[in-house]
């Protein structure tokens, strides 16, 4: 039989990718639209039980990559595996809940009826509908028509749909879009709860503080290229010290003696020193011994925002 070896080979590939701890694995996933590369050889890995943040500015390639992971868009090249199987197959999608690029529902149906339709598609009992509505705080508005919902309510209905049936992987594309501040807090809490309950969440966002707050690991994407993939703390690179002392020139000289010439940056009358906080006593001793009056010692961490802009700036300089 001509097809048997091919089938065996595909099964073999599936097994190779069926690492129990890996929920999503893409390999050089690429999507080209004409001359434009929307996603350029994106290789990312989402592990079981984590909240993975897919971070990038608008138009960076986040949604295109998510669409390929869900099988909505066919990759130009590369591959994507979800839950150990080729992405987008019926078997996989039955175990994935998704909200991609805005909620798509029937405007003439109520929120509840929209979820009933999707529950029928998923082969789920209709009891899951009300549970999902309550979970996103739409229990009292479930009977209203979808077209009468505010942007935030539509977004929450989209998340409710993605949660029905407790899927192994929840893919949320910009889930806090259109939500008011209280709604954003609730949504972030919900996402963290999902991960605590054992579900894996892959979320895309252009909101750095959101990703910093709730994600375990982050993939940074810009212009279709995955620039970096690591934990949030790795990406931020740990804390450094700040010191304010006088006279400034003497303080600078002493600090450079401890942290090296490139390890000290002056910000007004404050020095930013590339030393971990556990070396603060040593630095203070040297400063005092050097005749510096130390007014203030502290530690700061780089925000994800600073890291992100640094990375995208570097990329821009490299391409020039």
């Amino acid at each position: 039989m001509a097809g048997a070896p091919v089938a065996a080979m595909v099964d073999g590939m599936n097994l190779n990718h069926d690492d129990h701890d890996t929920v999503v694995r893409t390999h050089q996933l690429t999507k080209r639209y004409g001359d434009r590369l929307a996603a350029d050889q994106v290789s990312l890995t989402v592990r079981r039980g984590e909240v993975y943040g897919f971070l990038g500015p608008n138009g960076a390639g986040k949604t295109t990559t998510l669409r390929m992971i869900l099988g909505l868009v066919r990759p130009t090249s590369g591959s994507a595996f979800v839950l150990g199987k080729r992405a987008g197959t019926a078997q996989v999608n039955a175990r994935v809940g998704a909200l991609v690029e805005g909620p798509g529902f029937y405007p003439y149906l109520s929120g509840r009826d929209n979820l009933r339709v999707m529950a029928r598609y998923r082969g789920l009992p209709e009891t899951v509908v009300d549970e999902a509505l309550v979970r996103v705080d739409l229990g009292s508005r479930g009977g209203d028509k979808f077209k009468s919902y505010s942007l935030g309510m539509k977004q929450r209905l989209g998340v409710a749909s993605a949660l029905m049936g407790d899927p192994d992987l929840v893919v949320l594309d910009e889930p806090t879009n259109g939500l008011d501040p209280a709604g954003m807090v609730d949504m972030r809490r919900l996402i963290v709860d999902l991960a605590r309950g054992g579900q894996t969440v892959l979320l895309s966002s252009h909101l750095l503080d959101e990703v910093q707050e709730i994600c375990d690991r982050v993939g940074v994407i810009n212009n279709g290229v995955l620039l970096k993939e690591s934990t949030v703390s790795e990406l931020r690179g740990g804390a450094s010290l700040t010191v304010r002392g006088e006279p400034v020139d003497r303080a600078l000289a002493v600090a450079m003696g401890v942290a090296g010439d490139d390890g000290v940056h002056l910000d007004g009358d404050r020095m930013l020193i590339d030393l971990t906080p556990d070396r603060a006593p040593e630095l203070v001793r040297e400063l005092v011994a050097g005749g510096v009056q130390v007014h203030e010692v502290g530690s700061v961490e780089r925000t994800l925002e600073e890291v992100f802009f640094e990375m995208t700036r570097n990329e821009l300089e490299t391409t020039r």
Binding site: L72, A90, G104, G123
Partner: protein, 297 residues
């Protein structure tokens, strides 16, 4: 798992997904006002052109464009129960088909603008199962429409018979069965063509607009041109309007002083049925090919 067991499991899973998709589509179509408005428009047209105008002409002695040249006796006979198999069918080649095309185009096309196909395609069932479910639900509405038309025609003709104190002569069951079957073929063909062009255009506006222009104008113009040019005449014999019109024409007849618009005698009943069956097979295959291959935005 052996290859046979695996294949059986996949088939069972596809069947389950198809049934789940049909149930989902039935729910959303049942609650969609546009579906009921479209079907209601067809019922209103059947009432007006099948019964109301003829009956008013009979009562007033005036004739209109829809019954010019008919005698009072034949006008009354047209609206009595014995003529139900003809009245049921005569509006389908033109109005009924056009409205079913609109229905099919709405069912397929609106989902692209609303983003609902995107949501549905991430729910689990494979795209062919979703397509099968959507077409099954659409077909259920076509069947219901044809049956409801029969009930409407019987009801109105019985009402006329009662008002005019006419003896009720029931149509032959075989004639009713033939009309129902032919009516379903014509209406389903147009509904599936509507679904296909709704899928092609990925929206309702363009597909409804172009579909109606084709159904109501272009096919008739081509048949006119076909009288002058042989190749065009051959081409028109394969058009869905020719198939639908000829099938209805083979049952209700095309002679008489007042031919019904859209009812033709270009093909025989068998040929016309075969042509429509060809469309019923071809349109889902083409729609399936498009739906499974295309990216969904």
């Amino acid at each position: 798992m052996s290859a046979t067991t695996k294949a059986t499991t996949v088939e069972a899973s596809t069947m389950t997904s198809g049934i789940a998709s049909t149930k989902a589509e039935l729910l959303r179509l049942r609650k969609w006002p546009a579906v009921w408005i479209t079907i209601g428009a067809w019922m209103a047209l059947t009432t007006m052109f099948g019964y109301l105008f003829n009956y008013l002409s009979y009562k007033t002695g005036d004739t209109s464009f829809s019954n010019e040249g008919e005698t009072a006796g034949s006008l009354l006979a047209d609206v009595l129960p014995a003529n139900v198999p003809s009245v049921l069918l005569q509006g389908m080649p033109m109005f009924g088909g056009a409205l079913m095309l609109v229905l099919g185009a709405l069912v397929a096309g609106n989902g692209y603008g609303w983003g609902t196909w995107k949501t549905v395609f991430t729910q689990g069932p494979a795209r062919p199962s979703v397509l099968a479910g959507s077409l099954s639900a659409l077909t259920a509405f076509v069947v219901a429409t044809v049956l409801a038309t029969l009930v409407l025609c019987l009801g109105l003709s019985l009402l006329v018979a009662a008002v005019e104190s006419q003896h009720v002569v029931w149509p032959a069951v075989s004639d009713l069965g033939t009309s129902l079957g032919a009516g379903f073929l014509v209406m389903e063909t147009w509904a599936l063509i509507g679904f296909l062009i709704g899928t092609l255009a990925r929206g309702p506006a363009l597909s409804v607009g172009l579909g109606l222009v084709w159904t109501l104008v272009v096919e008739n113009l081509l048949r006119g041109v076909g009288q002058l040019l042989g190749p065009v005449e051959t081409f028109t014999k394969f058009l869905p309007g020719t198939g639908g019109g000829s099938l209805v024409g083979s049952i209700v007849g095309t002679g008489g002083p007042d031919p019904t618009p859209g009812v033709l005698d270009v093909l025989g009943g068998g040929q016309a049925s075969a042509l429509l069956l060809g469309y019923l097979l071809l349109t889902p295959v083409l729609a399936g090919w498009l739906i499974t291959r295309r990216d969904v935005a």
